[in-house]
Amino acid sequence: MQANIAKARIKKIMQADEDIGKIAMAVPLLVSKALELFLQDLCDRTYEITLKKGAKTLNSLHLKQCVQSFHVFDFLKDTVSRVPDLGASDAAAEDRSAAKRRKISEDEEDGNDDESKKARVVS
C-alpha cells in the first residue's frame, strides 16, 4: 500500500486554491495520509452498496448512493450529482465514455463492457 499518495501533486492541488498561502513542509504528508484513510472509507462503504445490490462491478451509482448515505460525505454531493439515477441512462453515459475507452484499452474493463451490454438488452 502506498504510504504517501503523490505528495507533490497534493501540494499542487492545495496551492491551486488562491486563498491558500504558505504550507508547512510536513502538511502534504498529513493530507496524503488523511486522503488514504478517506479513500479507504469511501471504497469500503461504496462496496457495501455494491454487495447489497448483488453486483460484481462497483459503479458510479453505488458511489452516488454512498455519498447520499453519510453526512460526512456531503461535500461530495455536487461531484456525484451528474450521475444519473436510472439504469437506462447509465448506458448512455457508457456510450459517451466508450470513445475515450477505446483509445486506452485495458483488459480488466472488458468484463464491464459485457455487463453494460447485458443491461441494455434487458431494459
Partner: protein, 160 residues
C-alpha cells in the same frame, strides 16, 4: 470555495496521477472486485475534492489563529471539525514517524559538532567553570546558585 470559481486556472492540471490512483483503489477493494471506468474517475475526483476541503478548512483554522503558514496542527483541527476526527490518530502517527525520519539527520549534525570539541577543549572548559565557581566562593559573596555558570556582577580577575 468551489473549484469552478477559479477562473483562468485549469484545475484539471492539478489532479492526482490516474494510474497510481487506479492501482491504489484496486488494492483497497477485495481482489475480485471490478470498478467501472467512470466510477474510477469519479473516485479520483472525490479525492481531489477531499484535498480541497481539507485545504480550505485548514486555511480557515490557520487564519483564525492569526498564522501565515498552514501547519500540521491546523490540518488535525480541520479533520476534527469536518467530522474526520477518527483519522487524527493515524495521521498524527504518520507525522511523528516523518519527524523521526527527518530529525535524525539534523540531530546527527548537532552531535558531531559536539564531538568535534577535543578532550583538551572540553577539559579547559570544565576548568574555566570550576575556576569561576571558586572565585565566586573566595570573593566572599555567598551565591547560593553554584551551578550557575554565568558570572553575576563584578568578578575578581583570575590569575591562573
Amino acid at each position: 470555495m468551489e473549484p469552478m470559481d477559479i477562473v483562468g486556472k485549469t484545475k484539471e492540471d492539478a489532479s492526482l496521477p490516474k494510474a497510481t490512483m487506479t492501482k491504489i483503489i484496486k488494492e483497497m477493494l477485495p481482489p475480485d472486485v471490478r470498478v467501472a471506468r467512470d466510477a474510477q474517475d469519479l473516485l479520483i475526483e472525490c479525492c481531489v475534492e477531499f484535498i480541497n476541503l481539507i485545504s480550505s478548512e485548514s486555511n480557515e483554522v490557520c487564519n483564525r489563529e492569526d498564522k501565515k503558514t498552514i501547519a500540521p496542527e491546523h490540518v488535525l483541527k480541520a479533520l476534527e471539525g469536518l467530522g474526520f476526527g477518527e483519522y487524527i490518530e493515524e495521521v498524527y502517527a504518520a507525522y511523528e514517524q516523518h519527524k523521526l525520519e527527518t530529525v535524525d539527520t539534523v540531530r546527527t549534525g548537532k552531535l558531531s559538532n559536539v564531538a568535534e570539541m577535543t578532550e583538551e577543549q572540553a577539559l579547559a572548559e570544565q576548568q574555566r567553570m570550576f575556576a569561576e565557581a571558586r572565585a565566586r566562593m573566595n570573593g566572599g559573596i555567598t551565591v547560593p546558585k553554584q551551578s550557575d555558570p554565568e558570572p553575576q556582577g563584578p568578578q575578581p580577575s583570575l590569575n591562573t
